[in-house]
Point group: D2
Chain length 309, copies 4
Amino acid sequence: MSEREGLAATEEHTIGWLGTGRMGSAIVHRLLNAGRPVTVWNRTSAKTGPLAARGAQVADSIAGLAGCDVVYVMVSGPADLEQVVLGEGGLLAADAKPAILVDCSTVSEEASAGIRAAATAAEVAFLAAPVCGNPEVIADGQSSFIVSGPVKVFEQVRPDMEAVAKTVVHVGEQEQARLVKLAHNLYLGMMVQSLVEVVTLAEKAGTSREAFLEFFNGSALTSPWIQRRSPELAAGDLHLTFTNELLRKDFDLGLAAARKLEVPMPATSIVSQLVQSAIGNGLRDEDFLSLYELQARSAGLSGVQSARL
Amino acid sequence: MSEREGLAATEEHTIGWLGTGRMGSAIVHRLLNAGRPVTVWNRTSAKTGPLAARGAQVADSIAGLAGCDVVYVMVSGPADLEQVVLGEGGLLAADAKPAILVDCSTVSEEASAGIRAAATAAEVAFLAAPVCGNPEVIADGQSSFIVSGPVKVFEQVRPDMEAVAKTVVHVGEQEQARLVKLAHNLYLGMMVQSLVEVVTLAEKAGTSREAFLEFFNGSALTSPWIQRRSPELAAGDLHLTFTNELLRKDFDLGLAAARKLEVPMPATSIVSQLVQSAIGNGLRDEDFLSLYELQARSAGLSGVQSARL
Amino acid sequence: MSEREGLAATEEHTIGWLGTGRMGSAIVHRLLNAGRPVTVWNRTSAKTGPLAARGAQVADSIAGLAGCDVVYVMVSGPADLEQVVLGEGGLLAADAKPAILVDCSTVSEEASAGIRAAATAAEVAFLAAPVCGNPEVIADGQSSFIVSGPVKVFEQVRPDMEAVAKTVVHVGEQEQARLVKLAHNLYLGMMVQSLVEVVTLAEKAGTSREAFLEFFNGSALTSPWIQRRSPELAAGDLHLTFTNELLRKDFDLGLAAARKLEVPMPATSIVSQLVQSAIGNGLRDEDFLSLYELQARSAGLSGVQSARL
Amino acid sequence: MSEREGLAATEEHTIGWLGTGRMGSAIVHRLLNAGRPVTVWNRTSAKTGPLAARGAQVADSIAGLAGCDVVYVMVSGPADLEQVVLGEGGLLAADAKPAILVDCSTVSEEASAGIRAAATAAEVAFLAAPVCGNPEVIADGQSSFIVSGPVKVFEQVRPDMEAVAKTVVHVGEQEQARLVKLAHNLYLGMMVQSLVEVVTLAEKAGTSREAFLEFFNGSALTSPWIQRRSPELAAGDLHLTFTNELLRKDFDLGLAAARKLEVPMPATSIVSQLVQSAIGNGLRDEDFLSLYELQARSAGLSGVQSARL
């Protein structure tokens, strides 16, 4: 067999989890709740304590995960990913190797392709599988896995993912999962700008943000995200979830991908420039819902009365 | 008492309904289901038959509604509205007049203000109350009433509306309901453009529209509207619900209102130009989801394989 | 002869000029310099003094112009235009009527078409002929006449116009001259926004506005307008020539015309929204070169150090 | 003296010129016409023939230029630049070195900074000096030099440049000249889009492109570039000068620089997306004046009747 295709389909597999920060821990909790055996490792070992108390095995080193059939990795960026997979003492350096490596970190297509090539060379099947959702969303079972890689391999780990998340989708054979996550974030920025334009319009006509949002959230246009954050916007008291500077980074990556693929993005592009204007107007470190603030000021409104702004 | 404020709060009121097209009939059905007594009138009297069969009284003339405590009007535009309210044989021409007139038609702020002034002069309280939803949505109890006018009057009819719709919101004391409905439609256009940009991006990267939408519809960003229309977009088989030309009209009205209120609308504005480009590129009479078609062609994709396009 | 076509081609015609404000006076001066006989009338008669001193005849009333072969009108807007042409004691009310009426005011297509219809009914040939240039530009012979109406009539008055202006162009048989003037002003707004984006970019990279403009003004991209205003922009000392509010009015009219003609205007549209943002950010009554100020602030620069701003 | 500052001010310097393609040859011709002694070298030595015939010395190798006081380089991109300056047998590899190195190629800031660092380490003063203009413009003495680097060094070579070009501007001490050239090209793209929007608007109203451009070119808004290309646009017969794909490259570089400097570019950004749409709509290899074609089609016009399109 010239190509590694993961596990035999009927095999009951063992799971390793590398990286138990807030996101990783939330996912492992759901795996344990579903009765899956999980072995965990984390650079800062203290973070594995609560998981051990719930029944997880704790490995002493990354090599201690290598014997698992499937190893999931969730670290904070491409440098960490490369180190724990390719570096000295990393997953692919051990004699024993997992059959399948699943990366749940948020990294670029290029970094993802590099890890895939190395895994493939080591006869380890590789899936890119970024997650949408924050720890609370994961705990509620409302998160999503976006997966790309060989579809046969995907089918083998899909039951694990379905034990964790509401939505598990295979979006391609290569690195498409990375792009799909960026597309999600581009839409998020556009959704917020679209919302703040119509909120401001209604507000200046004399409709309170609260009344407008009550109407909007009862319509077929609203989204769970908007529903969740409407009380903050109505009250003018924005909590920090994701800064304008971080949103700009996703727009940079998403627009670069669009450029490479030769896809024009007219609305995305103008929202990107508005995020930049927000930064130039002093809102760099504010939550990106402060696009409302930029819009309100440009409409001659006073903006929100928040201590932060 | 110098100001007409509708009904005494405890009064059990009678309801007249003027205009029983598809939308009006759907609403009256729900009122009847809720056990409210309703007298109806329609220019084409045949349309009242199914309602009579369900227990509605049918008036012979508009004057036959004037004795009702509350009369709702739902006609197709400002000219019809003016005729049935202000014209010869119209509601305000009768000796008996309702205490409250509620207009559920979609008309401009200016037309609404004109009717309000005439009603007020005739000591009839007036509410502007456009409805969001199509007949199916209304039948399912998922529609919304957006209401503006005196809040005391609103409180008197609110129970009627709550028997019909999921969401009933008071958005101001004057004509704000008209603007809020336009704001809804501006957001709708922006939502669709935002969606087709990210769908096209994912598609060109090798992710099928179906897979992308499956992911998207599991995320916190999706909306009931997108969920409902995703199968069509995935299949590339768009059904006609609302043409680009009609969407352009709402953008014209919405941007004119924004201009009058001095609210910049950068994202709205660029979407408006894209709708115009769609029209110039031959998509005038297509469903406005054909913004996908314009975007796909501009991305060098073949667009959807629909017989219509 | 069923159609009035102005003058016999060989006729040496007499000229009447109605409206000797700053623009009108500047044009009449040039006509007088060219040796043309001109009779003038102005509502505020004092303004005709300097022209009388240069040799113009001064009429006591509008009727005193009606005997001229060609009467030019240059008043401040459509209401004045209608009054002096159609009103009591107006040009078309006199028994004697000019063969040709040329309106040099800035009015809408609709107002222009109304005057044309009335003139045609009175067997007076009509030309729309707005002028580009301010009084200084006119005095220097650098202005432009944009003319629309019957081409035979145009040919008869073209020598007058060529005595005044550098450029005299016939742009159509109906009201096209009005649109062409608007198109000029739309381009002006876009040119300024384009300029301030690149100026700000260079400035933030460490190139002074002065150095950038010196380069730019030596390139094939610059325009006489930019060359004239560069010293102000370099010095950050903007003089008031045309406010953002007035520019917005031209954008309103131009975009409305584009909408009616179904021409998408993506760049125009975004500049229009930026002008609105400038107004919302407190620059309503500033010269529209203050688009620089909006851009500079959004780029995190301090903007110009002007007492006005 | 710790810092190399070029030549003693009074010195009459010798000039080397590396790279005699069409642009380089046009510049050397002007230097020779001005009586300057120039030694040239070109990879394809045949191209130096016409210059030798006019009196230039021809070096056998790059090392043959190293003895000149000032060496100008004009090659086709960063790879060539690095090779002829830093590579084996390159300018900085020779024992003798010029006092001043002036790079007239079009390269990125990063490449420019790398060459500057190497030159400085070798005690050779360095100027970045891209040229605006094509060979015809250069021959007519209408080109521009945009120069950045130490101002004292600039003053030493300024007389050479003034013998060649109409405009010679010092825009900063580091790599600013590279950005200023990009800013020029961004403005060029915006100017063309602005023009085609108003041309199309007038055209759809019934004013021919020819008449509109005649008017426009007589106004204070036109530019030499527009004047030069108006006959082509009027005739609908566009010659290839610079493709949409090449313009897109400059927009990519310019917007990346703006992003790095945190300057929002709303109008630039939308034009960038329109260039991408033009490419997606089949205009990749057309002259970028074909932005007219995209705009005309989107306005429901037939576009230009050119065999190319």
